[in-house]
Amino acid sequence: MSFNGKVLLVDDEPHIRKYVSVLLRTLGSPIIFEATNGREAVELFERERPDLTLLDVNMPVQDGLETLPLLLAIDPDAVIVMLTSLTTRQIVEEAAQHGATSYLRKDLPRDELAAALREIIATSFEPDADE
């Protein structure tokens, strides 16, 4: 499987954006757009209409849970995956209620993180989209 879609990567921490970008590039040749807070994310989302959005929860200016409904208002079918660290069940449930597709723990070991991402991509996109 090779993933070549557009990805919007939203996280205020540069090391996470770097790490996750590298990880995404091992899965194919995605086009990655980066935002550092929710407000930037909404702007970029509107302009680029990404196939996949990875959205951090804790961010300055406008956090992930505030941003999520704004993105879904633009595109109700958007695939939005919350980036979390120590999963607090509450946040995951809240995000799911608001229509997030899934969540991803960015503190997982690399292989597990890659596997989780691969699975999200496999289940969210039709196999005929790439390959």
Partner: protein, 381 residues
């Protein structure tokens, strides 16, 4: 030498004493003595009035006559304790009733002391001073305990926050180092590989420490919420053996799950018990001589199942036994392959096992090595 000089280090002047006596003359005498000694005084001539006055005067001590019209001193004292419980001011009975039975009844009613009339001035003052000092010390202890528990709470919160904020950067460092080592960014020479691998290992050790600190903070804050579900214990053990077997292989050590008694399904928090298993196995490997063997056994007994991990390491020095399951209780034994140890692992294991109503013990084996055994209840349902 005059014996009367008080030796207390607490300043008791200005403390408030409620004097209760139906005899005007007695009250006047006591008033004079106490005022001269620097106390603030309020007076009542019945138990009922004393109870009323207590509320607004908030005395530090009550001098209480026993025989009075209306409710007597013993009843007054019981009522004070009923109303104010441990916060009630100490009561000293001061009375002509001085049969042994009276004294016993007074002390049983909650009085802290009993002074027979006629009294000696110095003796009354000395007794009052001692009880005021005790009360002041108790108050001081209470506030210290409150402060300490607040400080401990703040520490746990800080620990949790710090650890939480360190996790993500550490995970990124580890992950990016792995990408470099993989050659994702291009070829790396042997020296670069060595350096980046050191970075990877160091970030892994820090992650382990941070995770354990987080566990401690969570557990200490009383937030260890178990998510119990039926789990096939043997399967859980097999997974842990497989994972730790890889690390063991680097030291030519083998982990053998070679004794099992059936396939019990146990209600437990799989992730937490897995953490315990991982910890016991990695410890066993850590302290085993290279080339040795770690044996894992699962045994059943009515109502219980026990998992034991036996190693061929140096065992636990008898004089360090009590440190084994405590926070930061690192012993003198050194890992045989230069591994890291935070000294938190077994403390966390104990807390997890105990949260499952289980028991964890360690004992030295005859000859060499030791055995860690976790016993968990199997609910009949």
């Amino acid at each position: 030498m005059p014996p009367s000089e008080p030796t207390t280090f607490i300043d008791l002047s200005g403390r408030k004493i409620l004097v209760v006596d139906d005899d005007r003359v007695n009250i006047r005498i006591l008033h004079g003595i106490l005022q001269t000694a620097g106390y603030v005084i309020a007076e009542a001539d019945t138990g009922e009035k004393a109870l009323e006055l207590y509320q607004q005067f908030q005395p530090d001590l009550v001098l209480l006559d026993v025989v009075m019209p209306g409710i007597n001193g013993f009843e007054t004292c019981r009522e004070l304790i009923r109303r104010y419980d441990v916060k009630a001011a100490p009561v000293i009975f001061i009375t002509a009733k001085q049969e042994s039975d009276d004294i016993v009844e007074g002390l049983n009613a909650g009085g802290v002391d009993y002074v027979p009339k006629p009294f000696r001035q110095k003796e009354v003052l000395a007794r009052i001073r001692n009880h005021l000092a005790i009360r002041a010390l108790i108050a001081r202890q209470r506030s210290l305990v409150t402060q300490l528990s607040l400080a401990n709470e703040a520490k746990n919160k800080f620990l949790g926050m710090a650890a939480h904020d360190l996790r993500n950067p550490l995970a990124s460092i580890r992950g990016l180092a792995e990408f470099v080592l993989d050659g994702t960014f291009g070829p790396v020479n042997a020296e670069q590989t060595d350096a980046v691998d050191t970075i990877r290992q160091a970030s892994q050790s820090m992650l382990d420490l941070v995770n354990e600190l987080l566990d401690v903070a969570t557990i200490e804050a009383g937030q260890l919420n178990l998510r119990l579900a039926p789990v096939r214990l043997a399967e859980l053990i097999e997974k842990s053996v497989a994972l730790n077997g890889m690390e063991a292989a680097r030291k030519q050590t083998r982990i053998l799950f070679d004794e099992r008694d059936g396939d019990p399904v146990v209600a437990l928090d799989a992730a937490k018990i897995r953490q315990v298993m991982d910890n016991l196995l990695s410890n066993a490997v850590k302290y085993s001589p290279p080339g040795s063997c770690v044996h894992v056994a699962l045994r059943l007994s009515p109502g219980h199942c026990a998992v034991s991990v036996r190693d061929q390491g140096p065992g636990i020095p008898e004089n360090e036994r009590d440190k084994l399951f405590k926070d930061f209780g690192r012993l003198s034994a050194k890992p045989t392959g230069g591994e890291m140890s935070t000294g938190l692992g077994l403390a966390i294991c104990r807390k997890i096992v105990e949260a499952h109503q289980g028991v964890i013990v360690a004992e030295n084996l005859p000859g060499r090595g030791c055995e860690f055994r976790v016993t968990l209840p199997i609910s009949p349902a």
